[in-house]
Structures are given as C-alpha cells and as structure tokens.
C-alpha cells in the first residue's frame, strides 16, 4: 500500500496553469474520447436496431437475445478488455469492441420495449389501410418506438462516455488516460480532477443534446405530456 501524500501547493485540486500549459493534451484526449464514444454508439445502433426488430418478431429470438445480453452485461468491463487484449492488442479496437458490446445490450432492449409498446389497434388499422409489412415497420412501428429507442440511445451514450475511461488500461481511454496517468505520476491531482470534470461535462452535454434531439424528433410525445 502507498502512503497518503501530504497536501501541498505543488499538487492542488485545481489549477488554471495546468490547464493552460496542457490545453493541447486535454483537447487531444477529449477528441479521442468523443471519437471512441461516437464510433461505438454508431456501430452498436446499426447492429442493435435490426436485432431489436428481430426480437420483436419472434419470441424465441427475444428470449435468446435477452438472456445472452443479460449474461454479457454482468461481465465487468475490465474483464472484457482483458479477454480481448490478447487478440486485438493494446488498440482502440479492443476498447470499441467492449463499448459496442455494452451499448448493444441497452439499445436492443430499448428497441424491443419500444416495438412491444405499439398498440395492436394501430397495427390493425395500418393493416386495414393496406400497409405492407415493410411500410408498417417504417411508417408506423418504428416512429412509435422512437421515444423508447431514443431513451436507450441517450442512456447508452452517457454510459459509454463514462466507460471509455476504462479503456485507459489498453492505452486508449480518452480522458480516462489522463486520470490513470495522473494517478500513476505521483497522484497528480490537477490532471485527475480536470479530466474528470471534462468527462462528466461531456456526458451531461450528450444527455442534454440527445434530449433535445428526442424532443425535436417526437413532437407528438411532447404534446401529449
């Protein structure tokens, strides 16, 4: 065990001069953080939405998808990165793979929940109006499932922003890299705290932006509530 470090002026909790002299490092870490989050969420959404639709169509698919995802969600993130590293190396791929896995589970569930909530009368009515299966999905079911999918997307994005930091173990943790290296370099507080604040602000920003996007995309939901 290490000994507690004495508080002194060289290691304050917050320091503007640290931020000024390391602005480029902070910016690079922020950009990597955003990049890892965005790539992971896009890949996860592209896989999860069709899987969610499949699960809504078939009970057997739903059971297997939900139970597999439940088991995978239980596995700790560090274990996932540990299991992938020997194969994908100390690379951004390892991080993205792990992040996609967690985001996938949230998004599949959200899609399934959204589709299950579509009232059967609405589906009947659309069928009566002569909608084919594809049209029904594109024009009725998915729009009605959209609030749930967007909620899933918001939760997945915010969780991913926080989870990217664990990628620091394989050298691609965005702002998490600064937290870990700050800790390892004599418990350098300004770096740890600045990176933490940036990370939390980024997550909250994602939350706000996605909430606004959801409002813009689903004007009917707003009117009802």
């Amino acid at each position: 065990m290490l000994v507690a470090i004495r508080l002194d002026d060289k290691n304050p909790w917050f320091s503007w001069s640290y931020i000024e002299s390391n602005s480029q490092t902070l910016l690079d870490a922020l950009v990597e953080h955003l990049y890892l989050t965005a790539v992971s969420i896009v890949i996860a959404a592209v896989i999860a939405i069709p899987l969610g639709i499949l699960a809504a169509r078939s009970k057997a698919a739903a059971t297997s998808i939900l139970s597999i995802s439940g088991v995978m969600y239980t596995i700790p993130s560090l274990a996932v990165f540990a299991l992938l590293t020997p194969y994908l190396g100390l690379s951004a791929d390892t991080v993205v793979f792990g992040l996609v896995m967690y985001a996938l589970l949230i998004l599949v569930r959200a899609t399934l929940t959204g589709l299950r909530q579509v009232p059967s009368e609405v589906i009947d009515a659309a069928g009566g109006m002569g909608y084919g299966k594809g049209q029904l999905l594109a024009r009725v079911e998915l729009p009605l499932a959209l609030p749930s999918i967007m909620t899933g997307l918001r939760i997945a994005t915010v969780s991913t922003v926080a989870l990217v930091t664990v990628g620091a173990v394989v050298g691609h943790g965005g702002l998490g890299q600064l937290i870990l290296s700050g800790f390892r370099n004599n418990l350098y507080k300004p770096q740890i705290v600045t990176a933490t604040i940036m990370c939390v602000l980024l997550a909250l920003l994602c939350e706000v932006v996605l909430s606004l996007v959801t409002r813009a995309l689903t004007p009917w939901a707003r009117r009802r509530s």
Binding site: A79, P86, T196
Partner: protein, 228 residues
Amino acid sequence: MNPIGAAFTWLNDPLNWTNPGGVIDLVIEHMYLSGLAVLLGCLIAWPVGIWLGHSGRGGTVTVTVSNLTRAIPTIALLSIFPLTALGFSTWSVVIPLAVFAVPPLLATAYTGVREADPDARDAASGMGLSRLQILTRVELPLAVPHLASGFRTAAVQVVATATLAALFNGGGLGEIIARGFGKTIAVGAGEILAGGLLVAVLALLVEGALGLAEKYVTPRALRVAAAQ
C-alpha cells in the same frame, strides 16, 4: 504459447491460488470490499427510498440520482478518493463503489413502496393500523420483491466495478489483470486472460446466487402474482 493455453497454465498452477496475494486471498478481499460497499449503499439508499416512496414524493430525485451517477466514471472516483483525507484505505475503495450501488437500491425501494397495492393500504388503515404499522406490516412486505431485485442489481454491479479498484492500489481480483497489464502483452497475456475469466465467473456466480436468494425471500403469494 497461445493466450488461452497460457491462461489455463496460469490457472492450473496451485500456487497462483494459494500464495499470499493469490486468487483465494484476492477473492476474499474482493468480496469484503464489495460487501461493505453494498451494505453502505443499502444503509443510505433504503431509508431514503422507502421514505420517498411512503410519502409519495421524490420520483424525480431517484431519476436524477441515477442520471447523475451514470455520467461519473468509476475510475475517476477510485482515483480521487484516495487523495482525500481518507488516504489509501478500505473506505477510499468502498465509498466510490457504494456511490454506484445507490441508484438501483434507491429506485427499487421507491418503486416497491410506492406501488404497494392501494387496496391493501386502505384495508390496513380501515383495520386501524397507524401510518408506521402500515409501512412495516403492509408496504414493506409488499416491496420485498423490488428490494431484492434492486439488491441483486446493485451487488452484481459493485462486484463488477470493484475489479477496477486494482488499478488504483485498491486490491481485489482485478489485481491479476492489473499485474498482467504491467508486463508486456506477450508475457502477460495468459495472466490477463485468466484474470478476466476469474472476474467474469465471479460476477456471474454472484448474479446466480442472488437470483436464487431473490426467489427465496419473495413471499409465496407474490411469487404467484409475479408469474401471472
């Protein structure tokens, strides 16, 4: 040697299990830290959640707490707490872990008490039970399934999250992975993989055991109701 072979060689060496700081010691430490964190989480979240549910206030509080904690990286708290007055201690690991146990515990305690059957509540008050008696004899028993499922979610999450403590000298089973990452990948791959497997198995075992416990503590009448 391929990583899987190296991992099994590592797992097959009894000394890796029984040595000081071996798997057995680390599992005990891991469960001790996790147990304290869940306990601390329950001590804080249950009274608050139950009170909020009983009084019918605080739906937004539970949502806000879970949204806020979701935005906080675990490794940030695990690295910041040892730098406070707590220093490197059990509590500098347990408190950050407890923070992440609170949202599921709080939300389920709130929902469980809030959603107790209003008819049962009316009947109890008609029978002359006081507000406190209604809480302890009607609302809480009816909330047990919710409390149990929140406990399972929180405990599994804490056991999983506790893995990260090893990166910040906090101990626990993540230590094996951290040691492996401390070497080059060629040398450490087996240890990294073995550590990952052990941690995953531990999390799944805890999930399974608490799933059974959850069934056991749910009163029979509620079990039937849940199945329908």
